[in-house]
């Protein structure tokens, strides 16, 4: 049992804590309480999904972790030694690329802002484009790419600075299912190789189960953590996992938790 758990740790991450949200709350001036009393700790190397209905504040929680929004109450405790935010990569719901810039320039951007010249950045950018299967598209501009390819550029841009924490805000929600599956596979592969920590916001039960080592189910009004579901299936996960009974059972569990969070009676709802 112990060794089994150790193996799982091995596959999911080192287990050392990276950050903890301590009774984080956020209220907006119009009286809406987006978040209340969020306690959540995220370990180094974890793949955590925030799953919940729209309006449960999962995106707000992500923005607070990113430092784009300040919490009204509570705090974020960075436990990575430095006591402050590590380097962060952020992937938005839309690809959010510079439409006038080439794929290369878009991926180069975070380095460029840090003062890295084009020639210095070129090997890293080329390597990253290779990793997201976009080699050969350096000179294309975003509008010449498909939705999935744009999202790959966005992921490459987020990872080019080798961040320790990757925040993703429903990145694949607007893509078709085939593209989404492929990007899920590729994302997992990148994560397993690079060993960064991921916080992934989604409203898809299937996606959260397939990707994450932990699912944090959130409830709305006010946004709060409802339940945590551990996904104790090992990595690597592939097409076989997607059709396995284990996967189906885990989806059922996550779906039940989500249903309960939305105040439905267990059993009479779809999987979301």
């Amino acid at each position: 049992m112990r060794s089994d758990k150790a193996a799982r740790r091995e596959s999911a991450g080192s287990g050392a804590a990276l950050l903890a949200l301590r009774s984080v709350g956020k209220s907006f001036p119009n009286g809406v309480t987006a978040l209340r009393g969020i306690d959540l700790s995220i370990g180094e190397g974890d793949f955590v999904s925030l799953l919940g209905p729209s309006g449960c504040g999962k995106s707000t929680a992500l923005r607070i972790i990113a430092g784009l929004t300040m919490p009204t109450t509570g705090m974020i405790d960075w436990q990575n030694g430095a006591g402050r935010q590590p380097s962060i990569g952020f992937v938005f719901q839309e690809p959010t690329l510079l439409p006038w810039a080439s794929v290369f320039d878009n991926v180069w951007l975070p380095l460029r802002l840090k003062g890295v010249s084009r020639s210095e950045a070129a090997p890293a950018v080329a390597g990253m484009l290779e990793r997201v299967n976009l080699a050969g598209f350096e000179k294309s501009v975003p509008r010449e790419l498909s939705g999935g390819m744009k999202m790959r550029v966005s992921i490459a841009r987020a990872l080019i600075t080798r961040p320790r924490l990757l925040l993703m805000d429903e990145p694949f929600a607007a893509l078709d299912e085939i593209t989404r599956f492929q990007l899920n596979d590729d994302l997992l592969e990148l994560w397993r190789e690079e060993r960064f920590t991921v916080v992934f916001v989604t409203h898809s039960v299937f996606e959260s189960v397939f990707l994450s080592s932990r699912i944090v189910v959130m409830a709305a009004r006010p946004g709060r953590v409802f339940e945590e579901v551990a996904v104790d299936a090992g990595y690597p996960r592939d097409e076989a996992f997607r059709t396995s009974p284990d996967y189906a059972a885990l989806c059922q569990r996550a779906s039940d938790a989500l249903g309960a969070a939305m105040g439905n009676k267990a059993g009479d709802r779809g999987a979301g």
Binding site: A66, L68, F90, T96, L98, P99, W100, L113
Partner: protein
């Protein structure tokens, strides 16, 4: 019967019609305006002949073209003067308009405080301001430039300000996350994002700058120092030299068209790869 029809799908009648229509449209776009213009000129000529209108009231088109040729030295010299004021005025309008809008973009407070001044400057007719300019500014060239500038800078200012403020919020967050400085955000994000808006403003400003240059010269013409196309028109009017008047008018109008086409081309070249407005429609 239906089986036979299904076996010959190579030629789709609707697509053929569509392609033919598109081709006609492409030809028509050039041929129609030229034909209508030729017809109008011919009609103009006919009216002159039929009604025996004297040359000093309405010259025949042929006479105008001949005057354009015979007075070329005088007219093109004047055109050069007008053109110089127009382009310099436009250049100053670009510098002033973009500079001010960048300043406005730095802070909402600056924008709120100073934008009304720009509006006042814009809505007051230039002809009404000119006597003041005449008193305060000695140099004739500077007077004309100031006029052209006042008329032309507002569309650039207003459009560029709009563009600088309509940057995707997520992109701004991305720049913040990557620790971009204000200057980096301006240079790498806001200015390129404002480019289509700026170019739209520039196209309007090009025409306005010419109008400003001509109107200013009209108002200043009394002082008799200027020799742009406007003063040629006034002069020709006094002398009942209608052919030269028309020739000057045509030159101004052609100048405006050329400026517009050049700025449209510039806009197309800069935006063709990424902006919706400059994309070729597919299919």
């Amino acid at each position: 019967m239906t089986a036979v029809e299904r076996r010959t799908p190579e030629i789709d009648q609707e697509e053929v019609r569509r392609a033919r229509r598109l081709q006609l449209e492409r030809i028509g776009r050039w041929v129609l305006p030229v034909a209508i213009m030729a017809l109008a000129i011919w009609l103009w000529d006919c009216i002159c002949v039929w009604n025996e209108i004297p040359q000093y009231i309405l010259p025949r088109p042929g006479v105008v073209v001949r005057t354009l040729y015979s007075d070329a030295g005088l007219l093109f010299g004047s055109l050069l003067v007008t053109l110089k004021i127009t382009l310099l005025g436009l250049l100053l309008a670009v510098i002033g308009g973009v500079g001010l809008s960048v300043l406005f973009a730095q802070s909402k407070w600056v924008e709120m405080s100073f934008f009304p001044f720009a509006v006042v400057l814009q809505v007051t007719p230039i002809v009404a301001i000119f006597p003041l300019i005449n008193i305060y500014v000695d140099n004739q060239m500077a007077r004309l430039l100031l006029c052209a500038w006042i008329v032309a800078f507002f569309p650039i200012l207003s459009n560029t300000t709009l563009g600088l403020n309509s940057v995707d919020r997520n992109l701004r967050d991305l720049f913040r996350l990557n620790g971009a400085t204000r200057w980096q955000e301006l240079w790498h994000l806001r200015l390129p994002a404002a480019m289509p808006y700026f170019l739209g403003g520039l196209k309007i400003a090009g025409g306005l700058s010419l109008i400003g240059a001509v109107v200013a010269e009209f108002v200043a013409g009394a002082s008799g120092q200027s020799s742009g196309l406007a003063s040629r028109i006034i002069e020709a009017g006094y002398r009942l030299n209608a052919p030269r008047l028309f020739a000057a008018l045509i030159l101004i109008s052609l100048t405006g068209i050329v400026i517009f086409l050049l700025l449209s081309l510039l806009s197309h070249l800069l935006l063709r790869r990424w902006h919706e407005s400059a994309l070729e429609r597919e299919g």
